[in-house]
């Protein structure tokens, strides 16, 4: 469980919020503060005031798997194989095991042939998948995903969702502009100008958005 108390940072103002384990979608208009909040939750940015705790502890940078919305900013290394191996190298995993796990991870996304390529030669979608694999390879308990899905075609999105759901992460928090995807998550948080407008299950949150374009389109078309 993540608990936020009296949080203030830039435009973010949250008095008290509990984010239970499981899957949580963070939604809101462009500029509502989603990325800022995700970075705070990942421990990448300390809040000015207030606290965020994960199971009662302060989040440590590097413990959560994090996929940045700017795929080019994820990469630390030029070669895809090195980028994928980095989280394991930082944990001093033996070379033989490391190489095996890198090959297996790349194969789960059909990217094994791209392992020797440099990151800048991957397509936009491939960079996003590479960042996701890199976040997953160390089996983090918390996975934080910043709108990576808008760079993926439908089949690649299904693949990515399977990778996420089979990752074993206790909690997945993502922001997305795909409301149909958000509607499949256990919990939805609506952020508006840095404040939590609504939080609850999709069935509790989305009916209030029915008159807006934020209402899941498949609900509108098929329900």
């Amino acid at each position: 469980m993540i608990e936020i108390r009296d949080l203030a940072f830039r435009s973010i103002r949250i008095g008290h919020l509990l984010i239970p384990d499981g899957t949580t979608a963070l939604i809101g208009a462009n500029g509502s503060g989603k990325t800022t909040l995700l970075r705070l939750l990942a421990g990448l940015t300390p809040p000015d005031t207030g606290s965020i705790t994960v199971d009662g502890m302060l989040p440590e940078p590097g413990c959560a798997g994090f996929v940045n919305e700017y795929p080019d900013r994820n990469a630390l290394f030029s070669r895809f194989a090195d980028e994928l191996a980095a989280p394991l190298r930082f944990r001093h995993i033996p070379c033989e095991e490391l190489e095996q796990r890198v090959k297996e991870a790349a194969a789960t996304a059909g990217l094994e042939r791209q392992l020797e390529r440099t990151m800048d030669t991957l397509s936009g979608g491939e960079k996003v998948l590479a960042a996701l694999l890199s976040a997953l390879i160390s089996s983090p308990e918390t996975l934080i995903l910043d709108e990576f899905d808008s760079h993926l075609d439908y089949d690649s999105l299904v693949l990515a969702e399977n990778l996420i759901s089979s990752s074993g992460a206790r909690r997945v928090i993502r922001c997305t502009q795909n409301m149909d995807l958000a509607a499949q998550y256990g919990r939805v948080i609506v952020l508006h100008r840095g404040r939590v407008l609504r939080a609850g299950s999709p069935e509790e949150v989305f009916p209030a958005l029915e008159e807006t374009c934020c209402y899941p389109f498949s609900w509108r078309a098929f329900r």
């Binding site: 500029g31 080019d72 397509s123 979608g125 075609d153 439908y154």
Partner: protein, 232 residues
């Protein structure tokens, strides 16, 4: 007005791009899996990349622009005002249209990704283009931004518009449907017939197709109308 790619080939290692295509005025939607070659097509069409074989010929095209997938690649100004001026559009009008009224002195890199994308596309779409190439215009935009971009694309009628996208739910009215498959460009045809053979169709379109219902086009209204027919 015509853009022709004749027997075009381009290589990156063992990966090969191939296209033999003619783009006439109208909205051309290009879909395909990640890494299939959509950005390569955009770059070749905008002559930002030289083909290894074949020719790219523009006929009667006097103005052309390319919008990159990542908006930060476009930034040249240190404020939104300067950035809008670099496109030759009114900075105050551009800020207002992109929902950023009164923020013209802000550094573009202080905006969120979605705000920056909408601002960059707004600047671009405030002008008319004979050839407008948009690589993933909908990524990072919220639904209001996506709908505004669709409206602007439809207002650019008369020119050639190439839209490469993975967007699943908010698409412009489309004249021609193309698909990139492992580096090869294929014309699926005009709407609605092209939907029958569209391999990388969005989830809702697949669902309708499986029920034997084809939407007349790809806009939200078209999808809703087709869904109503499915329920009848």
């Amino acid at each position: 007005m015509k853009l022709s790619l004749s027997a075009v080939e381009w290589h990156a290692g063992s990966w090969k791009f191939r296209a033999d295509a003619t783009f006439t005025p109208g909205v051309h939607l290009v879909s395909g899996r990640v890494g299939s070659g959509k950005t390569t097509l955009a770059l070749l069409s905008a002559r930002q990349l030289q083909p290894d074989a074949g020719t790219v010929v523009c006929e009667d095209i006097r103005s052309c622009t390319l919008s990159f997938q990542y908006p930060e690649y476009h930034i040249t100004g240190s404020t939104l005002y300067e950035e809008a001026e670099s496109y030759g559009v009114d900075p105050f009008a551009a800020c207002a249209r992109a929902g950023l009224a009164g923020r013209d002195e802000e550094d573009p890199f202080r905006l969120s990704r979605g705000e920056l994308k909408w601002f960059q596309l707004t600047c671009l779409l405030m002008r008319r283009w004979d050839l407008l190439i948009l690589d993933e215009p909908f990524s990072a935009l919220d639904c209001r931004g996506k709908l505004a971009v669709c409206r602007a694309i439809e207002e650019n009628r008369g020119g050639i518009v190439l839209v490469s996208t993975h967007e699943q739910y908010i698409l412009p009215k489309t004249d021609f449907l193309w698909e990139m498959m492992s580096g090869e460009l294929t014309l699926r045809g005009t709407l609605p017939d092209a939907i029958s053979t569209w391999e990388s169709a969005p989830a809702l379109v697949r669902r309708l197709r499986e029920q034997g219902v084809l939407p007349a086009n790809l806009t939200r209204d078209d999808i809703l109308e087709a869904a109503c027919r499915m329920h009848e």
